[in-house]
């Protein structure tokens, strides 16, 4: 082993307090970034996951102007022939005025969003049916499933109660029907259909007077990374139908653009934290240089060049950086593992979508290592400026 590396190692290991302080400074900087990533990127991914699962699928097809008039069966079958596609389902959306009566007495009337789903196809694409906490999902034309927020707005209606729904059709005429509540949905974090009423797609089409028309087609993929390919293939296949197709990132753009800026800001704070840990490394390295003034003088006296002294302290910085990056990455991955295994939730509600972003893990470790080395340059340079005669006065 080169004597400079050996000396750097010994000097550092014999100053355990400084070594631990510097390594912790670097590693905590990394840990902060990992924790930020797990929480905020996890929350972002969880929202994307839920939007995809409940509302948009991996690819969402709509009509640029109004409703899709092409047969939903034709479109669903077309999509399901693509190997990347797991399933597709049509949906119709509108809004309704509802009132609820209990024991023949009107409790309240207000407007809510209504979603019409295909009871057989929808569960293959969306996980909305998994959020039923009471009763069961939509199964017949005269049944509805009510979101938990609507339930409380309506005075805590129960499964089995009847609900009068008023929808204005395409001609402007009100269509009123009574439905039986067969289920109540509540999703973790409220990202599901908690504020909606879900009914059979054909019932909604009837009330809207849009027989055979579809509001949107949700497409679920085996491999979500192929969303752009599927979308482009679809648009190329139907160039004259005024279809609009979007990936989940595009569909959720409006909902998530602000959130993404927030994540960037939080990450920036993390990187500032890492930079402040670099200042800690500078301070500790200055202390190390200061405590080794006599040794530097002796080495210079017996022939060590300035370059040799520089290398010794830079190697120390590299060791601090490597140990700090290693420890910080280990702690960060440990936290990520814990978050993933315990299905950590954000503020006790939405389960975080925890993933290992190896590119980011390596990038963060390399950045911390580089900062520690850069932070060592000035103290090392100061060490090279020590004159042997001056340095050896520090006995």
């Amino acid at each position: 082993m080169d004597y400079r590396v050996q000396l750097a190692k010994r000097m550092l290991s014999n100053k355990k307090g400084s070594l631990i302080g510097a390594v912790l400074a670097v590693s905590i900087g990394i840990l902060v970034i990992h924790v930020n990533f797990v929480i905020f990127q996890g929350l972002y991914d969880a929202i994307v996951r839920d939007l995809s699962s409940y509302r948009f699928g991996d690819v969402l097809v709509t009509d640029e102007e109004s409703f899709i008039t092409k047969s939903d069966i034709f479109l669903v079958n077309w999509f399901e022939r693509i190997p990347y596609v797991e399933a597709a389902t049509p949906r119709v959306q509108s809004s309704a005025a509802i009132n609820v009566t209990k024991n023949g007495k009107l409790i309240e009337e207000f407007r809510v969003p209504v979603i019409g789903v295909d009871p057989f196809r929808d569960p293959r694409v969306s996980t909305a049916h998994e959020t039923v906490t009471d009763g069961q999902y939509v199964f017949s034309r005269n049944s509805v499933v009510v979101g938990s927020r609507v339930v409380s707005d309506l005075g805590n209606i129960k499964v089995g109660d009847s609900l009068q729904i008023k929808i204005t059709d395409r001609r402007g005429e009100d269509q009123i029907r009574r439905f039986i509540v067969t289920g109540i949905v509540t999703s973790p974090g409220g990202q599901g259909l908690d504020s909606e009423i879900i009914m059979h797609i054909d019932s909604l089409r009837d009330m809207l007077d849009r027989d055979g028309e579809t509001g949107e087609i949700l497409v679920k993929l085996n491999d979500p990374d192929k969303a752009s390919d599927v979308k482009n293939y679809f648009l190329r296949t139907f160039p004259n139908d005024e279809f609009k197709a979007e990936t989940i990132e595009e569909s959720a753009e409006a909902a998530l653009s602000g959130f993404r800026s927030g994540i960037a800001m939080i990450n920036m704070i993390g990187y500032f934290g890492m930079m402040s840990s670099a200042f800690a490394v500078v301070t500790i390295q200055m202390m190390l240089v200061s405590s080794k003034t006599r040794e530097v003088g002796v080495m210079r006296a017996i022939g060590a060049k300035r370059k040799d002294i520089l290398i010794i302290f830079i190697v120390q910085g590299m060791m601090i950086g490597a140990l700090g990056a290693g420890l910080g990455t280990a702690m960060g991955l440990g936290y990520t593992f814990y978050a993933k295994e315990t299905k950590m939730t954000f503020a006790g509600s939405i389960p975080l979508e925890v993933s290992y972003d190896w590119e980011k893990v390596i990038q963060t470790a390399l950045m911390a290592f580089s900062l520690a080395v850069i932070a060592s340059i000035y103290p090392s340079y100061k060490a090279t400026k020590l004159q042997p005669v001056e340095a050896m006065r520090y006995v």
């Binding site: 000396l7 014999n14 080495m299 017996i302 022939g303």
Partner: protein, 236 residues
């Protein structure tokens, strides 16, 4: 190979300027032959440590020239001076100044490691440690051995590169009289055995007994012998 290993020509060293100007060395001229065991003596503040720093290339003269082994060192660059110190000079300091982070053996090998001539370095270092009676202490950390042992290790370190001159600055200043005597005898025996030039700065001339030559420094001026004749400047 010339018989003269060290030559100082009209060396002056001035610190400060104006009212604070101090002439630490005043026109010092002398030369030293290979194998000489030379003492530089003088009272505190006489300039003997400044002179040693000039010879050790740890400081540069304000004017004049220092020749070591025939090389005019005053014109060398910083890197060349480092290399020159490493190959031509051995240092023994008052407080041994071994590196506490290394073992005794590693300290002795250090000048060779710096020189990048590691071949046989360990073997030679062990031989030297054996000759100074430290073969049983070589793997101990430098800060775990006694002052006398550390100073003996420093002598071994000073000799490992077969330097032209070994410079010692108050090598016994930090030792008790018995240990000091051991260290002095060791330096003398090494000087004889290896025909090694030693230039030793001390304020206690009597500790060293019989030596080849003595130079006395007084008020920055160098005089041959122990007694300083009034107004007589050294010429060799």
């Amino acid at each position: 190979m010339s018989d003269i290993v060290l030559e100082l020509k009209n060396v002056n060293r001035v610190f400060g300027q104006g009212d604070t100007k101090v002439q630490a060395l005043d026109n010092v001229t002398f030369s030293v032959k290979r194998g000489e065991f030379l003492l530089i003596v003088g009272s505190s503040g006489s300039g003997k440590s400044t002179l040693l720093n000039m010879i050790g290339l740890l400081d540069k003269p304000s004017s004049g020239q220092v020749f070591i082994d025939g090389t005019n060192t005053t014109k060398l660059s910083d890197n060349k001076i480092s290399a020159f110190r490493n190959s031509k000079l051995g240092f023994i300091f008052q407080f041994s100044n071994l590196l506490a982070d290394l073992t005794v053996l590693e300290n002795v090998m250090l000048p060779r490691n710096i020189q990048r001539t590691d071949q046989n370095a360990q073997k030679q270092a062990i031989e030297l440690l054996r000759s100074v009676g430290l073969e049983n202490q070589m793997h101990k950390r430098a800060n775990k051995v006694s002052g006398g042992q550390a100073q003996r290790a420093a002598i071994a370190r000073g000799l490992i590169n077969h330097p032209a001159i070994v410079l010692a600055d108050e090598p016994t200043g930090n030792l008790d009289s018995v240990t000091a005597e051991t260290v002095i005898q060791l330096m003398k025996s090494m000087a004889k055995k290896l025909n090694q030039t030693f230039v030793i700065v001390t304020h206690d001339r009597h500790q060293f007994g019989e030596v080849d030559r003595i130079i006395t420094i007084k008020d920055g001026r160098a005089f041959e012998g122990e007694d300083v004749p009034p107004k007589m400047e050294l010429t060799v």
